[in-house]
Amino acid sequence: MTNLALAATEEEKMERFMEKIEKGIKIEADDWMPEEYRTTLIKLISMHGMSEIMGALPEKEWVPKAPSLHRKLGIMAKVQDEMGHGQLLLRVAEDLLKPYGKTRGDLMQDLFTGKLKFHNVFHAETRTWGDAGLIGWLVDGAAIITQTDMLNASYGPYARALHRICAEEVFHAQHGEAIIMALAEGTDEQRAMIQDALNRWWNSLLVFFGPAAKETLGTSKQDVTIKYKIRTKTNEQLRQDFFTKYVPRILSLGLELPDKTMHYNEEKEVWVYQEPDWSELKAVARNEGARSQARLNLRRTSYQTNAWVRDALAATIS
């Protein structure tokens, strides 16, 4: 029976692999996969996982300052979920890293040295409670658009993780909406607070989906991820989906779009908008965003402070 394995050449394995991808049969952690598929997944999933963990930090800043006990409980539950998402995704990444002998400890080090990046939206500061609401509503909203696109990803463990994650994201989206709607129905000052948050976050929200063409920044993984059916839509399609879902809602709450030229072209069925400032993406890639270093330091400190817990527990085995 095991002779079957010996008989298959690399080309035959590749052929069988692509056949599975085309038929929609899931690839599992122990299955043979081409190097390019593995490295693409590792990059995507480790960045996604670390972004969940780093993404909990901007909102965590608002846990002590939440305006009521009810709001505090809500945002705490959300922050805990995001850490949980990080746990799930790092597990998926670790199984893929096995042939390289790497673990999450290595990924954490890569985060600290800047080799492993986290999403642009989590480098910004959260100035007001309006920002806390806006993150839940639109940053999670944008993440939901990209994550639901991968619910049927060809890699089984990632698809299953995303199913768990997206189910919780529904709560996150509604949690954000609840904060935003309360402020939108509040005083002039409160309405101004969310308009100000929207103005400051707009560029980052557009940048979040990545450039439409690889010429913008010189690199893009979108073609490879589509080829292997990890995702289905391009960066631009996802950004357009985001506009379609959220622009009408933004306007309905009496908020103004920060981009005054933005409109929907009925004929071409596309949103026409001003290109965001992509230099933001280059800056955060170097961890030079407004809060990049502060948040990395927080992560570093807690990782070091808690090292004794890991060591103490390690002593109980063997």
Binding site: M1, D30, L88, R104, R310, I317
Partner: protein, 114 residues
């Protein structure tokens, strides 16, 4: 680094109600079973109802490799083993003015005595 040896991989299974079967949830890392049990609840059972949890160290699981999985493919000639292969009886029973006792009918016989 301690991370290299410290963690062990556990697969987590749980059931929603006392009568349902166990379902695989996901995996996690923990230094021992007891921690794995705590982590399983933290990671996967924050909201959904749960009646029981299993954590299983991965090293105790014998899975199938890709080649072995290929041997699971069934030939499409097993109708004599399934109700589908006997569907023609429905028509025959009609001749005797009787209804066929199909799966739906038979499986409905369980439960309380009337």
């Amino acid at each position: 680094m301690s991370e290299k040896t410290f963690y062990q991989e556990y697969e987590v299974f749980s059931k929603r109600t006392p009568s349902s079967g166990f379902q695989h949830q996901f995996s996690l890392l923990a230094p021992n079973e007891d921690m794995a049990m705590i982590m399983a609840q933290e990671n996967f059972m924050r909201r959904e109802p749960v009646a029981d949890i299993w954590v299983v160290n991965r090293k105790h699981i014998r899975g199938m490799n890709e080649e072995e999985k290929l041997t699971l493919n069934r030939l499409d000639n097993k109708e004599y083993r399934t109700a589908k292969g006997y569907g023609y009886l429905k028509k025959k029973w009609r001749k005797y003015e009787q209804q066929m006792l199909d799966e739906k009918e038979i499986m409905s016989w369980g439960g309380k005595k009337k």
